[in-house]
């Protein structure tokens, strides 16, 4: 999963030395749009009535807006909202939407499932399905409602009552919002049940021709999968739901006085060897992103193996990301970004392997024991990229090292004693999330202020390493000529998981926020445009909103091949993107048109809401918790857009004749 922004609400809102706060940007935007609105209104009114009358008209509209918003009546707003809801229900719009949703789940269920990560496919399917359906639905009803009212002249009987324009606009928005929220909630609950039902399964253990369970020694398992270190034999389950699991028999050696393993149901046998007890128990290996518990009843040939429902699908991992990631090159010089291994993937920065000073330092802030449910061993999760610079066995893992250190921030008093841990080596490969347990007590050294070694020993991660709440985690690549890639989100401590339903609800709140923007946009545009044009405008805004990042890339000046006109010219004349065009008046004209077009597209991408910031489907798909700050930022963005669009709709409707 690609995580590029790590919003901190206060910093996002009020900014810091490196970036301007959203609040200030909003104030400037309000000022600019107000001035533009006044100027535009004045221009149109001048065109109609002349400049002197125009001034009076604009002033009247602005002055009239204040009571229109102060004296709004909630009874009227809810009356109009109720009407909008009844209309959508009685015209069977909701029924049709719901039927499409039900059918897509019904038939979708046939095609999804199985594969490497069925949970991701399921979640992605329901999230995208719901998102698409809800956005299409609200776009349709909001684009058609007001223009229909004006065309059918039913607006006459409404606007000749003491109804303010603000109430007409707000009433519709509230109505569609209630409708959409209800529908979204129902879809969410059904989706959750669908995912849960779809992923729920169990297995039976594989038997040989004689109908017996046959455990084979580990080295005879032609699996390609790595066995646990303490595995002695294993078998598989039967193929079900598109996968099978490997079931290992592992030996668990414990002292006589130690408690037995937690999952006693999986114990096959126990045997006393000297002062130790050796437990042989079954362990179901992960496959397709999940595992099962297994309970054994009976002994030997009469043993019955009972597999539980799938576990591990529904996670809401809460990562503790580093505040900053700093790369160091071979010479040990700090860099903002890591090495690039090609244009195709710029998300990860790479570090050199072997004996160089190249490394990546993750700087954690507010590192506290309170955030972890158990502090004996802290789960550190890593998803690193691997770039191999020479041919070799693709299955061979790359060796990497982790080191933990104390550190102090800029302008802070240096700690009198700095702790540095031993290097913890591990192996890694592409596209897997590795969980590495970092024990709370780790071996390391203490250094004085001048870097002199004071002592070695075992020290506490929180009390010794991070007494100031700061911790530095250094990642190195140990293999010569190989590269490890990472981004800020690639390495994190996994805090206590959050409830899955809560995360699921947050994912749907993301869709809800997108829905609200589409409703406000639809209603606002429909105050002065016809339904088809409103729909077109809304669709364009959604497309721009979802793909704004890709579209923005087209608007950077250095993009090769020029804009649409130049690209078309190159296509027709069969000139490649890099070939310089011979200078002429027509080429200059072409470039100027492209520049204008590109700047317009660039401006549009800045105006339309960035829907990707409101889309949490990736978080649900990959099992990450949508944190409060991210949600709050998304909410504020949505709120600002909705408010702006509502005001725009109000002024447009206020200044138009309803009986045109």
């Amino acid at each position: 999963m690609v995580v590029k922004d790590f919003p901190d609400l206060m910093r996002w809102l009020f900014g810091d030395s490196t970036r301007t706060g959203a609040f200030l940007i909003l104030l400037l935007l309000i000022l600019a749009s107000s001035l533009f609105g006044l100027f535009f209104g004045f221009l149109v009114a001048s065109f109609r009535h002349g400049p002197a009358e125009a001034f009076y008209t604009v002033a009247k509209v602005v002055a009239g807006a204040i009571p229109d918003w102060i004296h709004i009546s909630y009874r009227r707003i809810f009356a109009i909202a109720g009407l909008a809801i009844k209309e959508a229900i009685r015209r069977r719009v909701i029924l049709v939407a719901f039927l499409i949703f039900a059918l897509s789940l019904l038939f979708g269920g046939w095609f999804i499932g199985g594969g490497e990560h069925p949970d991701r496919v399921y979640i992605n399917f329901v999230m995208w399905g719901t998102q698409l359906l809800i956005l299409m639905l609200v776009m349709l009803i909001s684009a058609f409602s007001l223009p229909d009212d004006i065309r059918n002249k039913t607006i006459y009987t409404v606007s000749t009552k003491p109804v303010r324009i603000s109430e007409i606009v707000l009433g519709r928005i509230v109505g569609f919002a209630i409708l959409g929220t209800g529908l979204l909630a129902v879809m969410g609950i059904i989706s959750l049940l669908f995912v849960w039902r779809g992923l729920s399964h169990t297995h039976q253990i594989a038997v040989n021709d004689g109908g017996q369970v046959e455990f084979q020694p580990v080295d005879r398992l032609a699996t390609g999968h790595r066995a646990s270190d303490n595995a002695i034999s294993g078998t598989t389950t039967l193929f079900d739901s598109g996968h099978r699991h490997y079931v290992e028999v592992v030996e668990d050696v414990r002292g006589i006085d130690d408690p037995p393993p937690a999952d006693t149901e999986s114990i096959l046998s126990q045997e006393t060897r000297g002062d130790k007890i050796v437990y042989q128990r079954l362990q179901v290996m992960h496959a397709s992103g999940h595992s099962h518990n297994v309970a054994v009843t009976g002994k030997g040939e009469a043993a019955v193996y009972d597999f539980s429902d799938a576990k591990g699908f529904f996670r809401a991992r809460k990562p503790k990301y580093a505040e900053m990631l700093v790369f160091f090159d071979r010479q040990g010089e700090p860099k903002r970004e890591g090495m690039s291994t090609g244009d195709e993937w710029t998300y990860l920065g790479f570090i050199d392997g072997g004996i160089t000073l190249s490394r990546a330092e993750y700087l954690f802030n507010n590192f506290s024991a309170d955030d972890f449910s158990s502090t004996d061993v802290l789960p550190l999760e890593l998803k690193l990229g691997v770039y191999r610079s020479h041919k070799g066995d693709i299955n061979t893992r790359i060796r990497a090292g982790l080191q933990i250190e104390s550190f102090t921030g800029e302008n802070e008093t240096a700690l009198p004693r700095r702790f540095r841990s031993e290097v913890m080596e591990f192996e890694t490969e592409e596209d897997i999330i590795q969980v590495k347990g970092i024990p709370r007590k780790i071996p390391g050294q203490i250094y004085g202020p001048e870097g002199e070694l004071i002592e070695s020993g075992i020290y506490d991660l929180f009390d010794d390493f991070a007494p100031n709440g700061r911790l530095k985690l250094t990642v190195r690549c140990m293999d010569q000529s190989q590269y490890l890639g990472m981004a800020r989100a690639s390495v994190y401590f996994r805090l206590t998981d959050r409830p899955y339903w809560l995360n699921f609800a947050r994912g749907y709140i993301g869709i809800w926020m997108q829905m609200m923007i589409v409703i406000c946009l639809g209603v606002s545009l429909s105050t002065f445009l016809s339904s088809p044009v409103t729909m077109l405008g809304t669709v364009c805004a959604i497309i721009f909103g979802f793909f704004s990042e890709s579209i923005k890339k087209l608007t950077v000046p250095e993009v090769s091949g020029g804009g649409p006109v130049e690209s078309f010219y190159r296509l027709v004349t069969q000139k490649n993107q890099e070939e310089a065009l011979s200078r002429s008046l027509s080429v200059d004209a072409m470039e100027q048109i492209d520049k204008l077009f590109i700047s317009m597209v660039g401006a549009v991408t800045r105006i339309v809401p960035d829907f990707s910031r409101l889309d949490f489907s990736d978080f649900l798909t990959y099992g990450y918790f949508v944190d409060n700050d991210r949600l709050a930022v998304a909410f504020l963005i949505s709120f600002a857009f909705c408010t702006g669009l509502t005001l725009m709709g109000y002024f447009c409707l206020k200044t138009r004749e309803l009986a045109g």
Binding site: S73, G82, K86, P162, I165, L658
Partner: protein, 323 residues
């Protein structure tokens, strides 16, 4: 009507701020003009030209004119559905574009533009809410008005199942939900059968009896003549005539005498008397009833005595009503 249902919505919005406001003048237009333009601002139609009008409290005022004369435009300008190109329209002393004036207005548009997916009850409730009426007042008022317009039996049916006449009736009911002081009726009798037309006219007269002001526009001259106190005749946006109906319709220089039980022999004698006084006899004959009157009599009689009506009796009935 109960005290509760007639209560006006207390609102500071109704406070009058116009120092020149005369409470007896309900509607006033000054040099009111409207030009319809196209998207580019080019003039399409000059719908209303410098209209000066004054409608006083308690009168029934009729706007007359052929299609495209500017009647509906005037009504829409008074309601704030259109903005004047020049001049101004004042309703209750307030600018017509002000929303608060609508507290005291009832409007029946030309084709009862109502939401067809609502039932009569829901329609009344919806419009009641728009007046910010509390639920119990809404319920009582809506019940009363639905009965009054004779739709009690169809109150739970969606309007899409209604006939045109029924929609007109519920349209009138919604226009009266707020017990308005000024009622604007755009072609109130259009789409109604003669019985409905008569009921509508009776209701308009009833409104007048309650000291309400009514402005109606119609091109059905008989309807206007029956109910209006004053009329304005518009033609192509110009005001051509304005005055009391009785004054405008009086034919000077002619005299009509109506008598009952006069034998045919008396006709000659009367003609002689007229000639003696230098007058000219235009006609002496039995007056005719109107077709509306005849139709209504038949319907009333049929309601009282259901079953097939004999042709002779029908002829007799016609003669009777003509007497």
């Amino acid at each position: 009507m109960t005290e509760k249902s007639t209560q006006k919505i207390p609102s500071d919005k109704l406070i009058q701020t116009n120092p020149d406001y005369n409470p007896d003048v309900i509607v006033e237009t000054q040099n009111l003009s409207k030009i319809y333009r196209d998207f580019w601002g080019r003039q399409k139609v000059r719908a209303l030209k410098a209209l000066d009008l004054e409608v006083r409290k308690g009168e029934i005022f009729g706007l007359l004119g052929p299609n495209g004369s500017g009647k509906s435009t005037t009504i829409k300008l008074l309601l704030g559905l259109l903005f004047p190109t020049s001049g101004r329209a004042l309703v209750f002393g307030k600018d017509a574009t002000e929303t608060t004036k609508n507290e005291r207005i009832g409007y029946l548009p030309e084709e009862s533009y109502l939401y067809k997916f609502l039932t009569a009850e829901e329609t009344m409730d919806f419009y009641g809410r728009l007046f910010d009426m509390p639920a119990d007042v809404r319920r009582q008022r809506s019940d009363e008005l639905i009965r009054k317009v004779g739709l009690h039996w169809a109150r739970r049916r969606q309007l899409k199942e209604y006939s045109k006449g029924m929609v007109r009736r519920i349209g009138l009911a919604q226009a009266l939900i707020n017990d308005p002081d000024l009622v604007l009726l755009d072609e109130p009798t259009s789409g109604l059968d003669p019985l409905g037309t008569r009921e509508m006219k009776d209701m308009i007269l009833e409104l007048k009896a309650q000291n309400k002001t009514v402005i109606m526009c119609s091109h059905l001259l008989a309807d206007v003549q029956d109910v209006c106190d004053r009329i304005a005749i518009l033609y192509q946006g110009d005001l051509k005539e304005l005055g009391a109906v009785n004054d405008l319709l009086q034919v000077s220089g002619e005299t009509s005498v109506r008598a009952r039980k006069l034998p045919d022999s008396a006709h000659k004698e009367i003609a002689e008397v007229i000639a003696r006084h230098g007058g000219e006899v235009l006609s002496i004959e039995n007056p005719r009833t109107t077709l509306e009157e005849l139709f209504l009599n038949i319907v009333r009689e049929s309601e009282e005595r259901p079953g097939r009506r004999a042709a002779a009796a029908a002829g007799e009935g016609g003669t009777e009503s003509g007497r």
